[in-house]
Symmetry: C2
C-alpha cells in the first residue's frame, strides 16, 4: 500500500481550478480526455497499453507519454480521474471493491491516489464494485463509472443494464443504487471458440451478421430446441454435411452465445421480465444485443460507452468537489 | 481418391490366415494391437503421432515405425484394421461418413483401403457416421467402432450411450442400429476455459475432484439456480472475494460443463429419461460422468474404451471375413 497516499489528504487537493484529465484504463486499452474549466472536451487520446500488459511501476510513465502535452509546464498538478482495471490488484494501485448495494453517487468517497514521481499529475482511481455472495460472487471495475455517467439520462434512475463485452455485465439499479450484478463470460468464450477451438475453420467472424440465421437460432434457443453446449459442434458438422457458410456459422455462434446470456438473465426474472434493457456499448456487438433483445420482445435503449465513461468520471470528480466545498 | 484401391478388390484379400493388427488412430494419439490367429492379443504399442499432426503421405511410415517388428519378414501382407480420424478428409485417406440410421454390424461394407508402398501391410479404414439434418447435423469417427465393440455385452443391443472426451458423443441405439447422435464440445471447452481464459488462474485442474463442490454445483444447475455461461465468471470472483480454492474452482467448472451436457440430454428426453446410460471411457473423466449420472438418478454402466476399440475392430474384420466366405 506504499503507493497509496491517504485519500483524505489528497482529496483536499481536488479543486475546480484549471483543466483536468479523464481516463478509462481497461485491460487492453487506455483512453484519455482533456476537459477544460467549462467542462468542454479539448483533446482526446488513446493507446493499446492496457492495464493487463503493465507492471505497477510503468503506469505513470505510460500516462505521461499519452497526456504529457496537455499538462501545465510549471509544476502545478493536473487532476487525473481514472476508472477501470488500472485499479486492480495487478494494476497501478489497488482500489477497493465497494460491496453492493452501493449508491453510485458515493463512488468518489472511495477514490485512491497513487503516489507519483512527477508533480505535474495528481491521479485518482475510482473503486470497483463487488457482490459478496457465496452463490453468486461478482466483481466489476470500470462499468460502475459508465453507469454513473448515464444516471441523469434516466427518469427514475432505475432499471436493468447490460454492458456487453469480453465479460458482459448485467446490473439491476434501483434509484441510483446498484442492487445486483451478474457477469457472463460471453465475449471471452466467443473469442476462444472462434479463434482456438476446432470450430475456428468453420467461422468467419469478420463477416456481416446474417440476421436470418441469427434470429432463427435465437428462436431455437427460446423454444428449447437448441442449447449452447449442445449445438456448438453442429457448426462444424453443418459445414461438413450441409455446406453451411462460415459467415452463417459465425452468426449462429453469435446467437448461441448472446441468446444464451439473454435467456439466462430473463429466466432469473421469472414472470416479471423487464420491458426494456439499457445497453451501454457502441460497437457492432451492442447492435447484436439490441437485435436479440428486440426479437425477444424487450426494448433496447442504447447508450454510448465512451460518453458514459467521460460523464461518469466528471460525476465522480464533481462528487469529490462537492464534498470539499 | 488415387490412394484408395477399389474396396471390392481389396476386401477379397481379407482372409483368416495369420495374425492381424488393430489400430485406433485418433486426432492426438495412435494405439495398435497385434492379434494372433486365435484372437489373442500378443502385443500392443502406442504413439502420440495422432492423425491431427500428419500429412496423408506420412501415415504409412508412422504405422510401419510403430508395428514394423510385428510383421512377417517376407512380403505376405498383414491386415491392419484402423478406426478413427485416420479416415478423415485430412487423414490418410477419406473413408465416407455413413448416414444414420446405420446398423453397426454393416460398417465393414464401407471399408476403404489406402494404397501402400510397402507390401507387408494391407490397411483398411472403418467409415465414420453422420447425421444428415438441417437442425442437428452431426459426425463421428472412431466412436462407431467402440459401440460395435460393446454390442455383445448388451442384452437387446439398445440403449443410450455416452462417450465422454474432447467431443463428447451421445448415441441412441435401437437393436444394434444407431438411430440418433449428438456431440457436445464439453471437453474442448473445459480445456480452453481452464488453460486460455481469465479463469486459468483460478483453476487447479490436476487436483482431485472435490465431490461436495461437484455435486452441490450439479444441484444448482438442476434447480436452475445456476447456468454454465452465467456462472463461469463466478469462479474468478469467488476466488477474489471468498478465497475459493483453485481445486474447488476446477471441480465447479467440471460440474458446470458435465452437468450442463447431461441436463441438456435429459431435457431432450422429456418425460421419458433413460434409466441407465452406457459410458464408454476409462479415464477419470468417465468416472466424473458416472458420479454426475448417479446423482441425477440414472445408473451409469461403464465400458472400457480400449477393449471396446479392439473388439469393435475385430467385429469389423469378422464381418468382412463372413462376407468373403
Amino acid at each position: 500500500m506504499n503507493q497509496v497516499a491517504s485519500p483524505n489528504n489528497d482529496l483536499r487537493q481536488i479543486t475546480t481550478a484549471g483543466s483536468w484529465v479523464a481516463v478509462d484504463w481497461g485491460t487492453s486499452s487506455l483512453r484519455a480526455w482533456l476537459i477544460d474549466e467549462n467542462g468542454v472536451t479539448q483533446n482526446s487520446a488513446k493507446s493499446t497499453q492496457g492495464a493487463g500488459t503493465l507492471q505497477p511501476s510503468e503506469f505513470e510513465g505510460v500516462l505521461l507519454d499519452l497526456i504529457g502535452d496537455w499538462l501545465h509546464s510549471n509544476a502545478k498538478p493536473t487532476q487525473v480521474f481514472i476508472c477501470g482495471m488500472a485499479g486492480s490488484r495487478q494494476g497501478w494501485v489497488e482500489a477497493e471493491y465497494v460491496p453492493v448495494p452501493t449508491k453510485l453517487t458515493e463512488l468518489h468517497q472511495h477514490l485512491v491516489s497513487p503516489k507519483t514521481g512527477n508533480a505535474r499529475i495528481l491521479p485518482f482511481i475510482v473503486p470497483g464494485l463487488c457482490q459478496k455472495s457465496e452463490q453468486h460472487p461478482d466483481v466489476m471495475r470500470g462499468e460502475e463509472t459508465l453507469l454513473l455517467g448515464i444516471l441523469d439520462e434516466l427518469s427514475d434512475k432505475s432499471g436493468v443494464f447490460c454492458l456487453p463485452g469480453t465479460h458482459s455485465k448485467w446490473v439491476e439499479m434501483e434509484k441510483g443504487t446498484v442492487a445486483r450484478t451478474s457477469t457472463f463470460l460471453s465475449g471471452e468464450l466467443f473469442a476462444l471458440i472462434a479463434k482456438q477451438s476446432i470450430l475456428r475453420h468453420s467461422l468467419e467472424t469478420e463477416a456481416e451478421l446474417d440476421k436470418d440465421v441469427f434470429l432463427a437460432t435465437l428462436d431455437q434457443l427460446k423454444s428449447q430446441e437448441a442449447t449452447l453446449l449442445g449445438n456448438l459442434f453442429g457448426l462444424r458438422a453443418g459445414q461438413l454435411l450441409n455446406n453451411t457458410s462460415p459467415q452463417a456459422g459465425a452468426s449462429k455462434l453469435s446467437a448461441l452465445v448472446i441468446g444464451t446470456e439473454l435467456l439466462d438473465m430473463l429466466a432469473k426474472c421469472g414472470d416479471n421480465p423487464p420491458k426494456q434493457v439499457h445497453l451501454v456499448g457502441g460497437s457492432k456487438l451492442a447492435q447484436n444485443y439490441a437485435l436479440a433483445l428486440q426479437h425477444l420482445g424487450i426494448t433496447p435503449i442504447l447508450h454510448d460507452a465512451d460518453k458514459a465513461a467521460l460523464k461518469g468520471l466528471s460525476a465522480v470528480r464533481q462528487g469529490a468537489l462537492n464534498d470539499n466545498s
